[in-house]
């Protein structure tokens, strides 16, 4: 079982934040939260819902559902291939609310949507926020929206009580770290390496430095993503962060073995958080 760094600020539950509540629940159990990512509509909407439910039942605390997008510059080839297939299979953006509602109606997991910004802008930021909240969603993770450009989203997320998870990276300056931590709600997403998504054998020392810097800037919850694919990595990263995000490995499991494989990998990953042995 992992313990949490003394450097992390005290952590009362953030009022109204579903992501914060999920991470705090894990923290009360003495472990880091496990966050699983899948793209919506891969290979179809119902499978995404089934796989999300399977993740929730097998040890994931928080689910991240990606909107397939034509120009995913932060995604590696496994996720990009999955999203291309989802689009080819007819996925349309409003279906994201079906996926979120399908998972939240069957589980207690907090569900965040990961999306590049143009689809949200196209629908209308306020409309998107309203529909996401109505579907039971927790909020948004925005890989190509920085707080500097986010005034509309800050307003809409306040109005509908949604989390706004911004990213920080090894290259983030102290000033930007502070501004991004201040703008975030739910948690801060620490990019572990300079690069795009994809399983890596090591995420290196950069991840810990980013997490420490975010905590020092006052972030109560910092979760690490990019490159995490094994329970050993989950254990290592969960020792100094508040949550660990796994994406590519779960997408590959779904691609190769379906929902059962997702359930099995989730169980395996969750041993890294100490949950399975708690």
């Amino acid at each position: 079982m992992t313990t949490h760094p003394a450097t992390a600020p005290s952590t009362g539950p953030a009022t109204g934040s579903k992501a914060a509540a999920a991470i705090e629940k894990a923290r009360r159990e003495g472990r880091a939260a496990l966050i699983g990512y899948l793209p919506a509509g891969f290979p179809d909407v119902q499978t995404t819902i089934d796989a999300g439910i399977a993740m929730a039942k097998n040890g994931v605390d928080l689910i991240e559902i990606g909107i397939p997008y034509s120009d995913p510059v932060m995604d590696g080839h496994v996720i990009q291939e999955a999203t291309v297939e989802a689009l080819a299979n007819g996925f349309t953006v409003p279906r994201i609310f079906d996926v979120v509602a399908g998972i939240t109606s069957a589980t207690d997991a907090a569900v965040l949507v990961m999306t590049y910004w143009n689809p949200v802008m196209r629908m209308g930021v306020r409309d998107f926020a309203e529909r996401l909240a109505a579907a039971g969603g927790a909020g948004l993770i925005t890989p190509d929206l920085i707080p500097d450009e986010a005034s509309e989203w800050l307003e809409a997320s306040d109005e509908f009580g949604l989390d706004r998870v911004f990213l920080v990276a090894p290259s983030t300056s102290p000033q930007r770290m502070q501004a991004t931590v201040d703008a975030s709600r739910g948690f801060v997403y620490a990019v572990s390496v300079m690069g795009v998504t994809g399983a890596r054998t090591s995420v290196g020392a950069a991840a810990r430095a980013v997490v420490d810097a975010a905590h020092a800037a006052g972030a109560e919850r910092v979760c690490v993503g990019l490159g995490v694919s094994s329970s050993a990595q989950v254990r290592e990263i969960g020792a100094y962060s508040d949550g660990v995000i796994v994406g590519t490995a779960l997408v590959a499991a779904l691609r190769d073995g379906g929902v059962d494989a997702v359930a099995e990998l989730t169980r395996e990953l969750s041993t890294g958080t100490g949950k399975a042995t708690a």
């Binding site: 034509s70 143009n118 190509d144 920085i146 990276a169 290259s171």
Partner: protein
């Protein structure tokens, strides 16, 4: 997938209703539009980018601002322009071509005479110097028709930088000879097989590379689009086109032109040319977009004409997108204009009414391509042929609107001849059916390949 269109389905600019306040402000004030520093042009521009790249963009912006203020840097740029690129480029009066333009006087700004054959060299020399100032050892670039890739490989060779060029796999096939040129210059060309395998996807791949290698690498973006500071920086290096053209037309005719024409994909040659005349309100500015098979067919790249504001590749601008916000695939006979976005400063100039943007079909462009070749002995790039076809329309309109006692030759149109057509000879030969049926060239060209 569909795009939003106006009441008749074509020709209504989405921006007409969007930035009416800006248009009103523009019409009622005398403020200079030149040298806008960004990050915003009206509501366009900005930085819609992953946080991982923001530090690099900050470093680039800081380096660029200091370089602009450094006389040693500006002297270096001027020296390379003069003694390497071959500037100033000529301004050539095209008297026989003018007969196809309603009889107005037509002047061609000869960017085709630059080293590497297009305006692209202006930007790459400047950015490669910036890369050196930042201590970067490697540049990456994206390219559609290959002209920016060739220019980037050239500048990298000159300044001793490693160069990697991303190019859509479809474009490497269409422009095989330019791929060979880049390789001869020492660059590595990486064909991109994602998406539509054209310019848009090459940019995505270059961005992925940049995120992973940002410590050593400068992304040498080829057009006045992307995240701040790229739109204003790329424009800065191309402003020399408009500055020279303005001085030359005054010297040769004693007055300013009635209209200035340029082709617009991302819009780098056009924004450089326009800038020389932006504050001359009496000079009409025209940008000609790729109308492909016709804007009513959906197979085109007429971004401002039929796009809607959105974000792509780091900037908010007009974008060809479907109702879900997914980027649509663009189509053009010109690989260099085959891009669904456009630089944000163009979006702003369109909204405030300072520049006008119109589509030119593949057929119209190819007709102008043939006319210029045979009237003036200049084979233009197919990109440029869009500007020439537009100039023919503008000239004819000017001639039709003459007042009493005026003659067409009182009117002057300047066209930016952004590049020469060597790279497009195979496409043109196939288009005009000039290749014998049994020739090897015909067989190759049927596939759209470069000879």
């Amino acid at each position: 997938m569909h795009q939003d269109t106006g009441p008749e389905g074509t020709g209504v600019r989405a921006g007409d209703a969007i930035d009416a306040g800006a248009a009103e402000a523009f019409l009622s004030h005398d403020e200079s539009l030149r040298h806008a520093p960004g990050p915003y042009f009206g509501s366009y521009g900005g930085r819609w980018m992953p946080e991982s790249l923001i530090a690099a963009l900050d470093e680039l912006q800081d380096t660029f601002e200091k370089a602009k203020a450094d006389p040693e840097f500006t002297a270096q740029v001027a020296e390379l322009n003069r003694n390497y690129a071959g500037r100033p480029s000529l301004l050539t009066e095209a008297q026989r071509f003018a007969e196809h333009c309603g009889g107005v006087r037509v002047f061609l700004k000869r960017e085709d005479l630059n080293h590497t054959g297009s305006h692209k060299i202006n930007n790459v020399l400047g950015q490669a110097l910036i890369a050196k100032r930042m201590g970067k050892t490697r540049v990456i670039a994206e390219t559609g028709a290959g002209q920016h890739g060739v220019a980037s490989a050239t500048a990298a060779a000159l300044l001793g930088l490693e160069c990697v060029v991303y190019m859509g796999a479809e474009d490497t096939r269409r422009q095989a000879l330019n791929v060979a040129r880049m390789q001869l210059l020492g660059a590595t060309v990486i064909p991109v097989t994602n998406g539509s395998q054209t310019l848009k996807d090459a940019i995505n791949e270059a961005l992925r590379d940049w995120v992973a290698n940002v410590g050593t690498t400068h992304y040498l973006l080829g057009t006045a689009a992307g995240a701040h500071p790229f739109p204003s920086m790329v424009r800065y290096f191309h402003e020399v086109i408009g500055d020279e053209a303005r001085e030359q037309i005054l010297e040769q005719t004693g007055k300013l032109p009635d209209a200035v024409c340029a082709c617009v994909g991302g819009g780098s040659n056009a924004i450089g040319m326009f800038h020389g005349f932006l504050d001359d309100r009496e000079v009409a500015l025209y940008g000609f977009e790729a109308g492909g098979d016709g804007v009513e067919t959906g197979r085109h790249a007429a971004t401002i004409t039929l796009g809607r504001p959105g974000v792509l590749h780091g900037a908010r601008s007009y974008l060809m997108q479907d109702e879900d916000g997914q980027t649509m695939e663009s189509h053009s006979i010109s690989a260099g204009l085959d891009y669904p976005g456009v630089g944000p400063e163009h979006a702003y100039l369109a909204d405030i009414g300072r520049a006008h943007y119109e589509p030119i079909t593949d057929a119209e462009a190819m007709e102008a391509f043939k006319i210029l070749s045979q009237a003036e002995g200049i084979i233009p790039a197919i990109e440029t042929a869009h500007a020439l076809a537009g100039a023919m329309k503008v000239g004819q309109r000017l001639a039709a609107d003459l007042g009493p006692g005026e003659k067409a030759s009182d009117r002057i149109v300047v066209v930016n001849l952004s590049g020469r057509g060597d790279k497009d000879v195979a496409t043109a030969a196939e288009y005009f059916d000039l290749l014998p049926d049994d020739s090897a060239e015909q067989e190759i060209a049927q596939e759209g390949e470069q000879l």
